[in-house]
Symmetry: C2
Subunit: 184 residues, 2 copies
Amino acid sequence: MSTSVLDMSMSLDGYIADPHDFLGGDDGERLHKWADLPSEPVARFQDEWNAAGAVLAGRRTAELMDHWGGDHGGLPIFVPSHRPPGPAARWGYPLVTYVTDGIESAMAQAKAAAGDKDVQVRGAYTAQRALEAGVLDEVQIHQIPVLLGDGRRLFDVLTSQIELEIVRVIDTPEATHIRYRVRR
Amino acid sequence: MSTSVLDMSMSLDGYIADPHDFLGGDDGERLHKWADLPSEPVARFQDEWNAAGAVLAGRRTAELMDHWGGDHGGLPIFVPSHRPPGPAARWGYPLVTYVTDGIESAMAQAKAAAGDKDVQVRGAYTAQRALEAGVLDEVQIHQIPVLLGDGRRLFDVLTSQIELEIVRVIDTPEATHIRYRVRR
C-alpha cells in the first residue's frame, strides 16, 4: 500500500525557505546543508526519497520548478488545481497530470500510480490541504538548528488541530530528523 | 557561571499557546500534557527547572501571571520594560525588579542574582529580544507531536539569523525534547 509523505527541512522557527524561495540563510542553502554531508542518516534518507513512486505537488511549487522538467526523477507528477494547466504542462509533459476535482482525487491517482511505493508531497500549501483532507499519511521533518527570522513557513494556513504520532527520531549534529504519522 | 535558558513546549507548527493564552487544544492544556506523565525524562526536566536561581520575564507574561504572586517559587524576578511597573510590582513584591535600561542589563542583574544557577527566561517576545541581544545562552524545546493551526508563536518577531548547536535530544512518545546552545 502506498504511503503519502511530506518531507521537509525546516528551521526551528518554522521556515522552509527564505522570502525569495531560496533555502534560507546568507548562502540561500542553509536548510539543505545537512544533506550534502555524506553520512549514514543521509544515505538512509536518500534511499527513502528514491523509493517514491509518484509525486503530488502544489501548483505553485510545480510551476516554480518547471514541473522538474516534466517528470520527477522519472516519476509521474500529479498537481491538484482548479485552473487548467499552462502550455508546458498541457502539451509538453506526458507524465504531468493536473487534477481539477480536488486533492482527495489527486492523491488517489498519485497512490494508484505509485503502487506499493510512496507518494512524495511537495509544497507547503498543498501539504496542509492534504493534512486537512486526511490524505497525508506521514510527515518527515528535518529540523535544522537555526533560527532564520523570516521566510516561508511550512505551517501557516492550517485550519484544524491535527494530532501526530512520533514514529522515528534520528539525532545528528546537523539536524534532528523526526518522522510523524498523522493520526486519523 | 549562570546560564540563561528559554524552556518552552511548542507544537510542530510553532505555537506555544492558543490565541487566548491557554496551552492549546480542545482542553487548553495540550502542549503541557507530556509533563503530567511520571517518567524519567519528566523528572529530569523538573530537576532542571528547580535548579534555576532567577527568572527573567517579559512584562506581558509577568503581568498575565500576576508576577507569580510576587516570586517564582521563591526566585527573584527581573522584568525588562521601558515603562514603570504597576502598583503591585512596585509596592507589593519585593522580589520583583523592573529594569528600565535594557535587556542586557536585566539579564546581567538576573545572572548576578542567580549565582551559579540558571536564569529561566519567560515570554516569547522577551526571549527573542534576548536572542537578538546575545544574552540568551540555551533554548530547551519540548516539541509536541501536534499541529494546532492557530495561536501564539514562539518565534515570530526575530530580525536576524541565529545559529544554534544541538546539545541534547531526548526522544519520548509524548514529545521530542531538544536542547540547543546559541552560537555566538
